[in-house]
Symmetry: C3
Subunit: 442 residues, 3 copies
């Protein structure tokens, strides 16, 4: 047996050093206050005390003393009667063993805490575990919403006012009252679409627009006030489906396992064996009311719509890749201003085009033509997808028309770049004003 050669030992030794070093680096970068790879560089605004209470909430020491159950209620009936009424209407106050303010907030008034998901989980372990289980399916998912958002470089670079706004919704990962509002924490409330659409609206995820424009949504709008929302989300209980009826059947707190086209952001094979199982799950669900053939045809129509969308997106990607080969994209990956903590990308910069290459970083800091593709992909494409999935024809039509226009514009820009043989001038999405703005405030 001969001695292993150098090309065996060198990679092995490098791995033994670099892999732990990488883990250490990521761990260190995440060890600041709050979530995300840049937690040491990104200082959140004041409201984070409530959006990520585990990391940022600091109790107010106005009242001295330790209080239990009825004592809290007695005093707060006059201080904050509204939330006491909410609690009185909740199952917490009707349980045999009542769940009092102090059970969730603690009883030392100078060291009160906000109820984090872990605290809710002491009683609602099933739901919490289902919620956490979404992490298996990667991002986007509710449970990873805050952490993965703050892993993105653009959160450190973009103007604080914009990214703080994003995180208002991403705080769903850190608190249960995004859907079950204080202090009724009602299951009935969360069964209604309004619980979801505070966040699920507008580009890139026009879920409320597309649902409310569908016949399902119109039935809800017209008649929902008369439905009995205390019933579980199960066959026969509701005259029309809501967000939760389809995506959280039987109240399951995990919405990621039935998604075929995921979130519309990448092309998938809709006929893979895994997706055939999901398809059957959908057909079974839709058959609560419709004939199975109709469900199957609707899913086929969705596949057709998706195929048409990706035909257009791939045409655009192909044009962009052609430009990249001829070095006609400015800035090239090497010319982009480095992000904070961007060591790996500085060593090995590369231009990302399309989802698989990491287009999500194309929010800004890219050439105009790449930004156009980003908008085509992230706004128009996702709008069309949601329209097709939720039964709103107008969003399909609008989204596809917008994609046609983008493709045409990308095609012309590409032609100009190839003809002139030179790159586009500096612009808003580049390292200039937009990117630099407020960097010191983040």
């Amino acid at each position: 047996m001969s001695k292993p050669p150098r090309y065996f030992w060198i990679p092995l030794i490098l791995s033994l050093i670099l892999v732990p070093a990488g883990f250490w680096y990521v761990g260190w970068s995440k060890s600041g206050e709050g979530a995300g790879l840049y937690s040491r560089q990104w200082v959140p605004d004041a409201m984070f005390a409530y959006w990520n209470p585990t990391a940022f909430y600091k109790p107010v020491d106005t009242i001295v003393g330790k209080f239990e159950g009825e004592q809290c209620v007695a005093c707060h009936t006059s201080v904050t009667p509204g939330i006491v009424k909410d609690w009185q209407a909740s199952r917490h106050s009707h349980a045999e063993k009542k769940v009092y303010c102090s059970n969730c907030h603690g009883n030392d008034h100078q060291a009160l805490h906000m109820p984090t998901p872990d605290i809710c989980a002491t009683c609602h372990a099933t739901q919490h575990n289902q919620f956490e289980d979404e992490k298996r399916f990667g991002f986007p998912s509710h449970a990873l919403a805050m952490e993965r958002a703050l892993d993105a470089k653009h959160f450190v670079d973009k103007p604080k006012a914009e990214v703080t706004a994003c995180l208002h919704c991403h705080s769903v990962a850190s608190k249960c009252d995004s859907c079950h509002t204080r202090h009724r924490f009602s299951a009935a409330e969360a069964r209604r679409p309004e619980a979801c659409i505070t966040c699920h609206s507008g580009p890139p995820h026009p879920d409320d627009e597309t649902y409310f424009h569908s016949k399902h949504g119109q039935l809800y709008l017209a008649q929902g006030a008369q439905w009995d929302w205390s019933k579980p989300l199960r066959k026969g209980n509701y005259p029309a489906p809501t967000c939760a009826y389809c995506h959280m059947q039987d109240g399951k707190h995990q919405v990621a396992d039935k998604s075929i086209w995921k979130f519309g952001i990448q092309k998938i094979n809709p006929l893979s064996s895994g997706n055939e199982i999901k398809r059957k799950q959908w057909i079974k669900l839709c058959s609560d009311c419709h004939e199975p053939e109709m469900a199957a045809k609707s899913l086929t129509a969705l596949d057709q719509e998706r195929k048409r969308a990706w035909d257009k997106l791939f045409q655009a990607e192909s044009l962009l890749k052609g430009l990249r080969r001829k070095s006609l994209l400015y800035p090239s990956a090497r010319q982009r201003p480095p992000y904070p903590g961007d060591a790996p990308d500085k060593l090995w910069p590369r231009e990302a085009i399309g989802f698989l290459e990491g287009q999500s970083s194309a929010f800004y800091n890219v050439s105009p033509i790449e930004r156009n593709y980003f908008e085509m992909w992230y706004f128009s494409n996702l709008g069309a997808y949601k329209g097709a999935a939720h039964g709103d024809a107008s969003f399909v039509a609008k989204g596809h028309q917008a994609m046609e226009l983008s493709l045409e514009s990308i095609r012309k820009q590409a032609e100009t770049l190839r003809t002139l043989g030179k790159t586009q001038p500096t612009n808003i999405w580049l390292n200039g004003e937009y990117t630099d703005y407020n960097r010191e405030h983040n």
Copy 2:
């Protein structure tokens, strides 16, 4: 009595040949599956089985046997309990002679059919006849929605994803459950605006936006859940009007006969004797609640708004016609790519400008300046009209500002074209990418 000259016989003989030939040609072209002049060239998507069931629905042969009334209900109570509950809540199940599933779908489970308007008409002949009666008023109308849409050439040419989306709504011609949803088929439901606005929303007919922004709509939104919707649409029964209250008074299933400005797409004489009669009908209707003078003044305000809109539109048309006279529109009618089945237009091509000349074909395949006019006319103008008609001031303001901007842009483009003496370069709306795209898929 002299012998009739040649110019008498030749046209006569030609007519005797060509008129029947024309009828035969149109009949043949419409004789494919589905509706429209291009039914032999345009293959619809899978969902058409439900959107135009008469032409496309094929029964599923899963269950063997013939079933009647209670048997259907017995089994479907566990298979699809929701729709059985809907039926149980309907008048169909409370009638002395119950209307069972089998009465509408047939009773051979391997040869079930979808209930088409004709089937509904066996009991609801009055409503069906009123609905069909809309055809007298031409298109746009509900009863011609599917056929006339598919008579348009652009349905064969445009990307399938877009036109399929359009037809989702145009299927109103082929099925009654666009407004009375399965399986309650409720009159009360169709009295509420949500029954209409699944389709009547967005450009070019922002009916929901303009109604819901009006005071009428705001009253509905705030209080509608408490109104008694079982009452007929008649004076004194509703605190504020809805779509159907004004447009389908007393439940009349025909909405075309009271319209003065039609759908805002052409200039009309609002003071013609026919329109004076319609005006009196409107004033009588509005006087259910308002003083007649207010109704008259509102209609005058609408006339003023329309006159201002058409002043602007005619200025734009006049500019376009000037360009056409000097052959400054590219593509000219002869240069446009022929549409499928476009024989008559190939023999005698002409540039259409404005509604009376057929501007509805200006969706695409035209010069940029003509497309600008199309958008001014079809989106901004119609938005302003709906705002004025439904009492939403903001849409009037937005629409007129948009028309000013379009007019200004058209004026400048026209000036440039006249100055340079040459036509505009190829573009998205022309025979290029957009028009060609997916032609093979249609």
Copy 3:
């Protein structure tokens, strides 16, 4: 004691002549029919009979006779049953001393009048006085909405269709049924957001969008139909706040005294002693449900958002002022077409940039770069403000992104103007088409 010099007497004499002359001139210019400095030049549309009934309503002399109370009701039960039912459901008909039609409209049927705020004030003096009291806080305010709008020069110049639409809402100053609709005049109705948002929607004041996208608004949408709206707007009575709960606490009919950032249209010092008092009022109000710290942090977040917005706006203003110093703005103040009644500005024309200099006149009649700033300030900035104030993160993000884009565009235009050393060509916002259009119709 020496004789006062000439520079003492001349100004004194001039003042004694010019100040009364100025007052006389303003008084004379306002003495036309209707409100506003241009009431002699601006003839309103027909609907003003109802929007400003004090000035324009003329009774219809169809019915002869004088009628009292029950007589009106007896006849109108068949003529207009809907509004009689409304009245019967109102407190007016249940009061010990009933308020009949004739009490508000008069009893001579040939000389009926519309009930103006003064007539309502005979019983509801407290509310009317509170409403009028808003005038102390200047414009924008409800009580000055009609008059101040018609003081603006652009109302005389802009196309009538657009400005008439604006005044539909501004009529709130002239009639109480903008919020308490005929003939129920319900307090409960006005407590719901729909009473406000007929007007408070869309740019520049997207109050409905931002409220309805907030968690407060979503709770209202989902559950509001079940709340007891007869209760006063007071701590503990409502599960979530509405427009009126926060802005018209305890039913106070004056919304101007608690506003810190006013309407977002100018930068203020949020920490002035006056604003510290308002801040305490807000914290007290929010503490009806939230912990005071959360309210304080929310206000701080609002201050941060505002500071960031004004950083951007001041950068844009500074660029514009630089251009003005070098005479690179076209049209300059001297080149703009004079407004009607524009004597003072003709004597001393000046370019207005930013709010304090009167940017509100930049709707039109300005250079493109100034219009861009106007849109940045009036639409994007105000949208972001409303989002931050009402708890809708998406409007903050959208508004700030739009401001970044505007700032970038302004920066580039400024660079081009400085480089080329010449001014921009004529455009839509200038004296050309837009401004001239319809001048004769106003």
